[in-house]
Symmetry: C2
Subunit: 181 residues, 2 copies
DNA sequence: GTCTATATACAGATAGAC
DNA sequence: GTCTATCTGTATATAGAC
């Protein structure tokens, strides 16, 4: 696991942030370089093209998902509750990367769409033995998708319709109960 | 209710289709004009700016939502089942418009985001008296959001993880049961 | 490793002919 | 109502200096 240069990570952070808060269109190489505090030439040393920049983001996401799968299987509240609860976090590292990649996917980037499908399958596989049926699995996955979608629509962290606090507890309760069969 | 010129509707159809199948970035005025079979000047006669084109799409969506709310309240299977079931249709007029507008919203278009939030509230208000609790309402809304999100990721109609046939029946059953309390 | 300067392409929009 | 031609800004990418 070689440690990537810091400037490279800063560029990736800036690209991700722009995608999440202003959308694919605003996340240009120029804007990304400016937000990362480097010149366009500096950015292009680390990522030779827009495509390389996007691929860098996909690799970051895959690494974060692996870590999350580990945490999920070790969760004391159980994988289903963990999964639903963590789908609503908007300033988490993983969730920011996930929303950023979903912006790329909706912009037509084929690799981003494929990555999201693969990731969704991995989560579903990890949850399958903890739910009563395929319909229950569909339910859990769709609630999670819904939370992400709402999250993605808010963008920069403006309060939205996503349940928090007691409302989230109640949602987790009703979903886990329905999922147990 | 004055009938809009046919060419205008064709332009709107093309813009919507480009947004859904290729994303916001590809849905340029040039590409839209070409897809609609008119020149750029022809398009600009009907919609004087990109913003006017986007506003035209929002107006179309609002009209389609009004019709859907009427159908929902008249549904024999019940509003909740109707709502969940129809959230998965990918080539329906309403769903195409909804996905197209969500593409705009994710691209940072403020009015598109506000429209989606308003529409979501109207659906929630229509469902509230048919579910046992606010948590149940959250559940139903989030499953619907999840279905739309998956739909939106497929884009051009490629088969995805959205439940169909018997799997959809099972999902509707488990959601309506959970929503009854 | 990071910079400036520049080439090429395409976006949204205007002017005005038919 | 629909067209062509054209202006201006900005996107990605290259070349090469420091």
């Amino acid at each position: 696991m070689s440690r990537p240069p810091r400037a490279r990570e800063l560029v990736l952070d800036a690209f991700e942030r722009l995608l999440v808060t202003e959308g694919e269109r605003a996340a240009t190489m120029d804007a990304t370089a400016r937000a990362a505090g480097v010149s366009k030439g500096g950015l292009l040393y680390h990522f030779g093209s827009k495509d390389a920049l996007e691929t860098g983001l996909l690799e970051r996401l895959h690494a974060l998902v692996e870590e999350d799968l580990d945490r999920m299987s070790a969760s004391t509240e159980g994988p289903v509750a963990y999964f639903v609860r963590t789908s609503a976090m908007s300033d988490d590292t993983l969730d920011r990367a996930l929303v950023a990649v979903s912006r790329l996917a909706q912009g037509g980037h084929a690799a981003a769409g494929a990555a999201l499908r693969t990731i969704r399958d991995r989560w579903a596989d990890a949850l399958r033995s903890h739910v009563a049926s395929e319909a229950a699995l569909d339910l859990v996955m769709l609630v999670s998708d819904g939370l992400y979608f709402n999250n993605a629509l808010e963008g920069d962290g403006v309060a939205g319709p996503t349940p928090t606090g007691a409302a989230m507890d109640a949602l987790v309760e009703i979903v886990t109960r329905a999922a147990r069969g």
